[in-house]
Amino acid sequence: MLRGEVSANAPQQTQATTVFAFQFADGVLMAGDRRATAGNVIVTDRVDKVIEIDATSLLAIAGVPATAFEMARVLQTSFEYFRRSQLQPLSLPAKVRALARLLRDNLPMTMQGVGVVVPLFAGLDQSVSPPKAQVYFYDPLGAQFQAVGYAASGSGSVTIRSIVSFQEHYGTPRPSEMKLPEAVRFALRLLMVAAEFDSATGGINPATETFATVKVLRPGGVETISDAQQKEFLSARQPGGTC
């Protein structure tokens, strides 16, 4: 077997995704499609890839769910354990590094090509007043980077990054100026477009009540945007602009 080649005996991996996060007027919006694929097989269209780690942290997973969900579970337990036992929340830099460490620990699986995870992380920076939501992205080896306005991961991320970049530079309103309904509508449309170009991205379909996982992180904490809210925001009349 050549170096870098995946073993022929390795199981078909469940993977592929489009997850992204961007700054909007009130904080950070993080969204993801709900499809999991193994090769050209759609395994399910009901995966939640944006996970609430604690009251002030969100994780979006892209890559192999078996590893990614376990990472989310480790983070959930360790963040909450720290907060309850030490009677203070873990700082944002510590949370960001905790995920980086998990990715580094997963290096052997990553190098074998059977457990790659490329997540996004959003957390509240409590060192400023009022607290500000920040977005971080990672490479598969665990390097962490702070995103200025947005970040995306997964097979549909190129499409997402192109559109968000365009909107940020030339659109009205810019994503960072959008209110919640606009931001959610923009996120859902991003997923619809990503799904057009990437068969591994599930997209959304209001006709079949298939929506995305959308969560927002504001100074007050995490809020989940329900399917009903997504439907309402998507169908609401927009005042103008290009989003």
Partner: protein, 246 residues
């Protein structure tokens, strides 16, 4: 000294008296199950008395802060270990107390050459309805009583504790909102900490309210709230008197 049964009993008796004497100055903590959740209340002057343990679990206690801390850490460790190994839904107060904390406390109490834990504890588990809420009253020697819903008082003196609990059960009839419940628990706290008798000679409501307000001026009122309606996994929140408009 402990080879002879009589000396063993005597040593245990002395130890029990010692702990009770040490706990005398501790102020009570109280808990009540309401329609919207469970409210735990304690009044301290620096050290915390009300704590979050896990998603649906909280603890309030009186006694030596270092001992409270040891038990709190043990409970948090056990709950998180269970949650990570199995699932958060598998963390139950009954197992936590009867298989974990109670045994540790009993062992410690019976080791007569080591210092006993100076604590009295009240632990709560949020259920899907008030009837399914669970309280455990855990004593320094590892013995415990459990109760579904209602009101539980945790004080250093057993007779006072029982009297206060009975009075509260009658007084809370119909008072089911958080603010009124907190007010009533603070009245009971004041009566207990001022050694008032819970018979007919109990001061009037206005005096009790005035009493707790004055008594807590230089203290910290800690209110833990396990919310049944919270959408988050962690149901615990800390409330203040201001947030309850008290």
């Amino acid at each position: 000294m402990i080879e002879e049964p009589y000396r063993w009993l005597e040593a245990m008796g002395n130890r029990r008296d010692y702990v009770r004497e040490q706990l005398k100055s501790g102020t009570p903590v109280l808990g009540t199950s309401l329609q919207e959740g469970i409210l735990l209340l304690g009044v301290g002057s620096g050290q915390s008395k009300v704590f979050e343990l896990f998603d649906r679990h909280a603890m309030a206690g009186l006694g030596h802060p270092a001992d409270l801390e040891k038990i709190r850490q043990a409970a948090i460790d056990a709950a998180h270990m269970e949650s990570f190994t199995r699932a958060p839904e598998d963390v139950s107060l009954r197992r936590l107390v009867s298989f974990g904390l109670s045994g540790q406390l009993k062992s410690n109490f019976e080791q007569i050459f080591s210092a006993p834990f100076l604590i009295e504890l009240l632990l709560a588990e949020l259920g899907s309805s008030p009837k399914e809420d669970l309280f455990f009253r855990l004593h320094f020697d590892g013995s415990f009583q459990s109760q579904n819903g209602g009101i539980v008082v945790c004080a250093s003196q057993n007779d006072q504790e029982q009297a206060a609990q009975q009075w509260l059960q009658q007084a809370t009839h119909g008072k089911m909102n958080r603010r009124d419940a907190a007010d009533l628990l603070l009245q009971a706290w004041w009566c207990l900490s001022r050694q008032k008798s819970f018979d007919g000679s109990l001061p009037a409501e206005s005096e009790r309210q005035k009493g707790w307000r004055k008594a807590t001026e230089d203290k910290i009122v800690e209110i833990g709230w396990l919310s049944r309606g919270a959408s988050r996994q962690a149901k615990y929140d800390s409330l203040t008197l201001d947030s309850l408009k008290l």
